[in-house]
């Protein structure tokens, strides 16, 4: 879906609602052919974004999920020496051909593919501090050399790289400099309604109002140790729908609290609040000026 201006444009898909700043960050990265670095609270759909960008642009996707033990090399290729040694001992396979023991990693596969891919590098901050620097050159130039065979693997079509980070570690400046950056802010009620509509269409408006009022009220409590996220909200609504909770039952009570709060102290605190004389908000005007402009 390249348009006449000769660059791809992403507009969101039916299953994923994006804010305009995010759409523009995606398009900006596409136009510049730079990696897009996405940060944000857990549960704001960072990883999902890549899948939907791929779907929206009609490109295949490859993901590389980073673990604390991930090495930059693994993304390029792995030379399976043990297999080769084993084959040599038992006389199996073509031991003379090193190529058959070179296994491409996600970067290697995307570079050697004949069509343009979306490459997701998920949770890059999980890896060692030096990891981002190690893949800097490969991501910049979109090529690398397999040392064992002296063969160069260069990308035929520059993949669109999406990198997510949970902020566990600082990323090096040189790395940041090459990226387009977007921080997914927590959705405001208006956008949240659209997001919920995708997952739970035909939800009763009054019930939805109650759900959102309780949810944003809960998130507004600064003492909370772990704030509920969008994905938890969606799960919570599923639970509410399945049990057929009515809007009246939601007035001063939060059912299925376990799907929203994951910390014991938070749950206890809210339970005490309900048992005591605590009054939960049941209209937007109770939430203060932030939601009533």
């Amino acid at each position: 879906m390249a348009d006449e201006k000769d660059f791809y444009r992403f507009q969101g898909t039916d299953g994923y609602i994006v804010s305009r700043p995010l759409v523009e960050a995606v398009n900006c990265a596409l136009a510049l052919e730079r990696p897009l670095l996405i940060k944000g609270e857990p549960g704001t759909g960072k990883t999902l974004l890549a899948r939907h960008v791929a779907e929206g642009l009609g490109m295949p996707m490859e993901s590389w999920h980073i673990k604390s033990t991930s090495k930059a090399m693994e993304g390029l290729y792995v030379y399976d020496t043990l297999q080769r040694l084993n084959d040599a001992r038992f006389g199996e396979g073509d031991v003379g051909d090193i190529r058959s023991y070179i296994k491409y990693g996600p970067l290697g596969r995307v570079f050697s593919a004949s069509n343009r891919h979306v490459l997701l590098i998920d949770e890059i901050d999980k890896a060692d501090l030096e990891f981002p620097n190690d893949i800097l050159r490969e991501i910049d130039e979109m090529r690398f050399t397999v040392m064992e065979t002296s063969e160069e693997v260069a990308a035929k079509e520059r993949p669109f790289v999406i990198i997510t980070s949970n902020n566990e570690k600082e990323l090096p400046d040189a790395f940041l400099r090459r990226c387009v950056f977007h921080f997914i802010d927590f959705p405001e009620p208006e956008l949240m309604r659209q997001i919920i509509d995708v997952h739970h269409p035909n939800l009763d408006t009054k019930l939805l109002d109650q759900v959102l009022i309780k949810f944003y009220w809960l998130r507004g409590q600064s003492e909370l140790r772990k704030k509920p996220s969008t994905s938890e909200l969606i799960d919570w609504i599923s639970a509410l729908l399945r049990s057929g909770v009515s809007q009246e039952q939601m007035q001063n009570h939060i059912p299925f609290l376990g799907s929203l709060l994951k910390n014991e102290q938070d749950t206890t605190a809210l339970h005490d609040f309900e048992q005591g004389e605590g009054q939960m908000p049941d209209s937007w005007s109770d939430l203060g000026p932030k939601y009533n402009q």
């Binding site: 609602i17 804010s19 960050a25 136009a31």
Partner: protein, 403 residues
């Protein structure tokens, strides 16, 4: 106007360099901003800013630089029209396209701004550059073909409004302390070493040994890497520290959740540590343990983080029997206990929730600052403190001579 944004950001301490500017200029040339200042705002933010901690600075600078651009009709229409027409950016390249290849980014920016000036002059004649009545040739209708949904865009949402909202001020590193950020700062508090049970397969060594062994597979194991940091937290509670209960309890939460530490102990004191430390924040006598025991039990590999405002009556620090609670008073002065703690452990820092600008005005704070390296209880302060605990050893604090 655009350079104001650039230098405004740099003045705010946001690391923006030519490379980022080139990215922005390139996307503008490609006409990605379509018809709105809000798009321009988004693109500038995506290309220039690389961390949400600078979003607030960006919003402030943007609001300052483009203040009034949207509010006053003529100015806003002109700028938006100009921004809306990709021809303006192509126009830049018509005769200069060849030159651009040779231009460096600085030069490119200058030419770009020159063009902008020219456009301005031409407009003084009274005509409009493009379109009529402020309608842009690239309306929103063209932006959203049917069946494609873009959310989160209410009609009156404007760049200025977003910028002036300053919704990201909570992410500033120099003011607020939220648990997530503190946890990130504390993540650095580690030094990884290999110790204990050797149960990780060391592949490189295995291959090496196997080859030496003439192909007979020889498995080599090594110990897992683990964090070797032991942290002792001493915390001032009650009295002048009451207003700081909230930020400090956040720090404590973050520390408790930081299970990566090899060992962690927290003790409490009021104003200044003397011969007893509380094991709970309410400082009950029955739960208190002698400070000497703590020093005996914990060796110098422990790293010490003291959290307190260091503000007290000078006598509490400098006089024998200085303890504010008469039931605990003893002959050893508070300052001597502090120096014992400093001398016993290799690394110790003091985190002070009072703003650093106030430190000079409190006598006891000045004295304690000479004993321990002191940092503010902000995210930046915690980061520096962690560096002082774990990083290359900084020059030793001046230290007061023993009295």
């Amino acid at each position: 106007m655009f350079l104001d944004l650039f230098y405004g950001l740099r003045d705010e301490g946001v690391p923006v360099a030519i490379q980022e500017w080139r990215m922005l200029v390139t996307v503008l040339e490609k006409g990605l901003h379509d018809s709105s200042l809000f798009s321009f705002y988004n693109l500038a933010k995506a290309t220039l800013i690389k961390s949400e901690t600078y979003y607030d600075a960006f919003d402030r600078v943007f609001a300052k630089v483009f203040h009034g651009v949207e509010g006053e009709l003529s100015a806003s229409d002109e700028l938006m029209d100009w921004l809306s027409n990709p021809k303006n950016f192509e126009g830049l390249t018509e005769e200069q396209r060849k030159m651009i290849e040779e231009l460096d980014a600085d030069e490119l920016m200058r030419k770009y701004l020159e063009t902008l000036d020219e456009q301005d002059e031409r407009h003084d004649g009274g005509g409009r550059w493009v379109g009529t009545g402020g309608h842009s040739p690239f309306g929103h209708g063209g932006q959203h073909p049917t069946g494609i949904r873009v959310g989160g865009e209410s009609k009156n949402r404007s760049a200025m409004k977003v910028a002036e909202d300053r919704r990201f001020k909570d992410y500033r590193t120099d003011s607020t302390l939220d648990i997530r950020n503190v946890r990130v700062a504390l993540k650095r508090l580690r030094s990884l070493t290999r110790e204990g049970q050797a149960d990780d397969l060391d592949l490189d060594e295995t291959v090496d040994e196997t080859c030496r062994n003439a192909g007979e597979i020889e498995l080599v194991y090594r110990a897992e890497r683990r964090n070797n940091v032991r942290l002792l937290l001493l915390m001032d509670v009650g009295g002048t520290m009451d207003p700081y209960y909230e930020p400090v309890s956040r720090l404590l939460t973050a520390l408790h959740e930081e299970r990566g530490l090899r060992d962690f102990k927290a003790y409490y004191f009021h104003n200044c540590p003397y011969e007893r430390l509380g094991t709970t924040a309410d400082l009950y006598l029955k739960d208190a343990i002698p400070t000497g025991d703590v020093l005996r039990r914990l060796d110098d590999r422990w790293k010490v983080m003291i959290v307190g405002d260091a503000a007290m009556h000078p006598a509490e620090l400098m006089n024998p029997r200085g303890n504010i609670n008469p039931r605990f008073e003893s002959d050893t002065r508070g300052i001597d206990w502090l120096m014992r703690i400093r001398d016993h452990f290799k690394r110790a820092v003091w985190l002070n929730p009072d703003p650093p600008s106030d430190w000079e005005y409190t006598r006891t704070t000045k004295v304690i600052k000479d004993i321990f390296p002191m940092y503010g209880l902000s995210l930046d302060g915690i980061q520096d403190a962690v560096t002082a605990l774990i990083g290359a050893k900084a020059s030793t604090s001046p230290g007061v001579t023993r009295h």
